[in-house]
């Protein structure tokens, strides 16, 4: 298995505070990886370092074996797209314009390929099923529609790697499912490597090939969903007791039932 993105001895400090301490990880190419862990364990920080949004760290981030910092910012944006949390657009921006802005890394003053741009934008909107919303203002969309519009913008970059920071936060269950299925399809049909921070362990169980568990600035575990997401691990990492159910259709459900009192709830 080849790793497309990896970190070696990565340490990140934010305002003197250590957020990640000498972690090393490999992310498999064309797979879906979920990063989970309790609040404040450094999930978003890891994603920001992986994406190059934060370059202020010790250690290395490697994209296809090369240092992330050796790529020009635009060439990096053609290979890797990130959707941070809480993105906001100008009030009068339309969905079509927003998705079109995703073509920025493919354009320059001297060269624009109008046809390639149009095709990429159409493809991105089709994948996220927002063609009908093209002329709507982003500000007037529902939460689920807006999230799909932002994902479409990231897809218009035509990235090989898609990084998502809690893409289902604030969405109702139907829209959560919709986003996860879009992500799954992008990975299975177009071989886009997906790395996402998730807080719902059942989403992680259902939609990720690989799970990375962070705890107290370090990698606590990495492996397949079935191997990693055990009641024992969840009790240690999140401090919750979890019961496991299997539906008649074979889907596994992890249900947190109580807090583990002894040993502290951290």
């Amino acid at each position: 298995m080849m790793s497309i993105l990896s970190v070696k001895n990565l340490s990140v400090k934010l305002q003197q505070k250590e957020i990640l301490r000498e972690i090393s990880l490999d992310f498999a190419k064309a797979k879906r990886t979920a990063i989970i862990g309790p609040n404040g364990c450094g999930k978003s920080t890891l994603l920001r370092a992986l994406s190059g949004l934060n370059r202020n760290y010790q250690g290395e981030v490697l994209l296809a074996g090369q240092k992330l910092t050796s790529f020009s910012k635009k060439s990096l944006a053609r290979q890797l797209a990130i959707l941070p949390q809480g993105a906001t657009a100008p009030a009068d921006l339309t969905v079509g314009e927003l998705v079109d802005y995703g073509r920025f890394p493919h354009r320059s003053w001297f060269k624009t390929d109008v046809r390639a741009d149009r095709e990429a934008v159409a493809w991105a909107m089709a994948q996220t099923k927002i063609e009908q919303l093209k002329d709507r203002q982003v500000a007037t969309l529902s939460g689920g529609e807006r999230q799909r519009a932002w994902i479409a913008m990231a897809l218009a970059q035509q990235p090989k790697i898609l990084l998502l920071d809690e893409p289902t936060t604030y969405l109702d269950i139907a829209h959560q499912l919709e986003v996860m299925q879009i992500v799954k399809k992008l990975n299975s049909e177009y071989k886009i490597t997906v790395i996402m921070v998730l807080h719902d362990i059942n989403h992680a169980r259902q939609y990720a090939d690989e799970i990375v568990v962070l705890k107290e600035q370090q990698v606590f575990a990495q492996g397949t969903a079935a191997a990693v997401l055990t009641p024992a691990l969840l009790a240690t990492v999140f401090g919750v007791r979890v019961e496991r159910f299997v539906s008649p259709a074979g889907a596994e459900i992890l249900l947190p039932t109580s807090l583990v009192e002894e040993g502290g709830v951290r």
Binding site: L53, K73, I82, P84, Y101, K134, D135
Partner: protein, 337 residues
């Protein structure tokens, strides 16, 4: 539901046509305002006389048209364009709907260094514009640094701007008091006026206006991306800090050249981009040309009004702009913050 796809497509085409139509209307407004500015005044002249004068056919009012009205109208147009573009750029760069070179103190910075040259080194007149640029840039950077605290927030920029503006304003007032004998029409300059602006002033502002316009249009796509916020912009491969600095410099240059010829003319950079935004949306590829044209129209029309409404008394155009602009600022303050 079934044919809404084609309806959307049609809507997209309509949107594009609408934008071009609005730009045309702005162009017609600018031309009308320019013509009105040439025709109205102490001596009214007809459009035929203007046409003859421009062709070089001698006439009774040729001197008035060519040496008084025409240069003044051109200065008004360029000042309007520059301030409108500077405001539009600053609004994206500072992520602040209320950014305007006057309100956030960039004009005061330009004013202080400009007036230092004007008063202390009057023989170096050609250095007024470059000096004003340095002052504007210093003010912009000061505001940015003062407002920065793990990110920039609109309210902090306005407050930092008020402080910076007061600081430079005190310098200007001090200079004007110490050297009150040396500054003719200082009052006019403080509120921004076009009185007695002529060809030398056109020469001062024109190169900066042309360069600024070209650079602003080249930055239109970058401004669009900056509006999405730093995180998204970085993710799209924009070199955010470098872009922000370069575009701030363009805005400072545009504002400074305007300040060096008309003084502290306020609110153009606030009112114009917002009106244009309402009609054209916030795509800078359309917003910038729209703001340039509407800025020209507004300042030319306001100046015509300012010098004819209370004739023979001539008001500085800055008073008209403040009467329009201050309520508009309050309206935006209530809506946006």
């Amino acid at each position: 539901m079934q044919n809404s796809g084609s309806e959307n497509k049609r809507f997209g085409v309509v949107a594009a046509k609408w934008r071009i139509l609005v730009l045309l209307v702005f162009a017609i407004l600018a031309l009308t305002a320019g013509l009105g500015s040439l025709m109205q005044g102490a001596v009214p002249v007809s459009s035929e006389e203007i046409w003859q004068a421009i062709q070089g056919i001698p006439g009774t009012n040729q001197q008035i048209i060519l040496n008084i009205r025409l240069p003044r109208t051109i200065v008004a147009a360029l000042v309007g364009m520059n301030l409108a573009l500077a405001g539009a750029i600053l609004q994206a760069v500072m992520k602040n709907p209320l950014a305007d070179p006057h309100i956030i103190g960039i004009s005061s910075g330009a004013g202080l260094t400009g007036i230092i040259i004007m008063i202390l080194y009057p023989s170096l007149e050609q250095l007024i514009a470059p000096a004003a640029f340095l002052g504007a840039m210093a003010a912009a950077i000061a505001i940015y640094i003062l407002a920065w605290k793990g990110g920039i927030r609109p309210v902090r920029i306005i407050l930092a701007g008020v402080a910076v503006s007061a600081f430079f304003g005190a310098g200007i007032s001090g200079l004007l008091i110490f050297y009150s004998d040396r500054v003719h029409g200082a009052l006019m300059w403080l509120v921004g006026g076009l009185s007695a602006r002529s060809w030398p002033h056109v020469e001062i502002i024109l190169p900066y206006a042309l360069a600024g316009l070209v650079l602003a249009l080249l930055g239109a796509r970058h401004l669009n991306i900056l509006q999405l916020g730093d995180e998204i912009a970085k993710g799209l491969g924009l070199r955010v800090e470098a872009t922000r600095l370069a575009l701030t410099a363009v805005a400072a240059m545009l504002a400074a050249s305007a300040v060096s010829v008309v003084g502290l003319l306020g609110f153009v950079g606030l009112v114009v981009p917002h009106v244009v935004r309402l009609l054209l949306g916030s795509d800078y590829r359309f917003l910038l040309p729209g703001a340039a044209l509407f800025g020209m129209a507004l300042v030319m029309a306001s100046d015509t009004f300012a010098r004819t409404a209370f004739a023979p008394t001539e008001l500085p155009v800055g008073i008209i702009m403040a009467i329009i602009g201050a309520p508009f600022f309050l309206f935006l303050l209530r809506r946006e913050l």
